[in-house]
């Protein structure tokens, strides 16, 4: 390789490595701020080496699995409360509004709201977090024992149940 090319090769490579390193260091420093949400254990046990916990009254997002059997709906309004879990501690989310189609027990969700006490969040928005698995209904039934009923059919069946 002739000296001029070699010089250009070194210059371009050094430029890219320096800038890449700078961006890497920046992202590393910003690591906690890039996370979209707290997990329930992060919320209760704190994040990082310093165990920083969010303060009551802080706006934040919380993400986790909806605990089976924890969804409580108010009979007269759209108010709903449910528990979220990841690996250990449980956090309660209270919400008033329409939940996304994919919201169900055992499903991952991300809620945005205000921390009202150490383990309760008053949510203003609830988003469903889908996992990376795709399969037809028959396979899901065979593998996971999940019989998924679309919401439209669910209501028809419950209507029939109410009108004997």
């Amino acid at each position: 390789m002739n000296p001029r090319r070699q010089k250009r090769l070194v210059a371009v490579t050094a430029f890219v490595l320096l800038l890449g390193g700078a961006i890497g260091a920046m992202l590393y420093a910003l690591q906690q701020n890039i996370d979209l949400f707290y997990t329930p254990s992060q919320l209760i046990e704190g994040i990082g080496k310093d165990k920083v916990k969010p303060e009551v009254g802080q706006r934040l997002r919380i993400g986790g699995m909806v605990v089976k059997g924890s969804v409580r709906r108010a009979p007269e309004s759209l108010k709903v409360s449910f528990d979220l879990v990841d690996t250990g501690p449980i956090v309660t989310v209270e919400y008033e509004g329409i939940l996304p189609d994919l919201f169900r027990e055992g499903q991952g969700i991300v809620a945005q709201g205000v921390l009202v006490d150490a383990t309760t969040i008053l949510a203003s928005e609830v988003l469903a977090k889908h996992d990376e698995e795709y399969m037809p209904p028959e396979v899901a039934e065979a593998m996971k024992g999940i019989k998924h009923v679309p919401p439209s059919q669910l209501y028809k069946e419950s209507d029939k149940g109410q009108q004997p």
């Binding site: 961006i23 690591q31 979209l36 996304p100 994919l102 928005e125 988003l127 698995e133 795709y134 396979v139």
Partner: protein
């Protein structure tokens, strides 16, 4: 060592040879691309089974995932061309940067728009500033930056040089896009097929997706050939071989008219 390894490529650094090579490849690439795209998408959109949770909405995967993967693939190719163009000063590699950038930008836009259209019914929102979505948006801005920089100088060669530098630096964003869903908490789900473990998708849905992936790759190659040909003609318009080409075309069309 370098010299002998890549010596066989030398003839293609000549614009005229590359122009004719691209011209010969173009019909095959385009034909195969159309065939695989039609096959993959008709299979995926009409015949593969619905998802157990998302129903028919998941079918956007057959456009979203290939365009997202190849928006990154196009970027890597563009950056490699930019690197070769900068270090070895090979003009056709510099023109390839200009040829690929708009195609990659469109792929990125398709990935972002189809993702938003899927996010609304599934997540409950069009957009969220999580690491995956934001880094893919940065990729679109990188493409637009490369296109804008290349055209921002009155001296074309200088514009290409600066745009190439941006293209190379932007490569830092590619691992960030790919690993964003592992490094940080995101709303976007993790990788389904681009991982070393077994794909977490049923084979009946995987096959049309793989065919669609191949289709988007072939379309990228075909469009790159097409655009590279026109870039070569633009930059070589005063050369004798282009003059001869134009004259020959002109003569033959005159004959046809007569």
């Amino acid at each position: 060592m370098w010299g002998s390894m890549f010596r066989w490529l030398d003839p293609y650094a000549k614009p005229e040879t590359l122009y004719h090579l691209c011209g010969r490849l173009l019909p095959y690439l385009m034909g195969l691309a159309l065939f695989t795209l039609l096959l993959g998408n008709i299979w995926g959109l009409a015949f593969s089974p619905a998802d157990y949770q998302q129903g028919d909405s998941y079918r956007i995967i057959y456009i979203h995932v290939p365009s997202a993967i190849w928006s990154m693939g196009a970027y890597s190719s563009m950056a490699i061309a930019a690197f070769i163009g900068l270090v070895w000063q090979i003009r056709v590699a510099q023109w390839a940067v200009l040829a690929i950038a708009p195609i990659g930008a469109v792929y990125t836009a398709i990935a972002l728009i189809t993702g938003a259209a899927w996010g609304k019914p599934m997540w409950g929102t069009w957009w969220v500033w999580d690491a995956r979505l934001t880094s893919e948006l940065v990729l679109l801005f990188l493409y637009l930056g490369v296109i804008a920089l290349a055209g921002a100088f009155s001296e074309a060669a200088r514009g290409i040089k600066v745009a190439s530098l941006l293209a190379i630096v932007g490569v830092v964003n590619l691992p960030i896009i790919h690993f964003s869903v592992e490094w940080w908490n995101t709303l976007h789900q993790g990788a389904t097929i681009t991982k070393f473990a077994k794909p977490s998708i049923d084979p009946s849905m995987l096959w049309p997706l793989l065919i669609s992936l191949l289709g988007f790759a072939l379309l990228l190659a075909a469009l790159t050939c097409l655009r590279l040909r026109s870039q070569i003609l633009i930059f070589e318009q005063h050369r004798p071989w282009v003059r001869q080409l134009v004259d020959a075309k002109g003569d033959s069309s005159q004959k046809e008219q007569n």
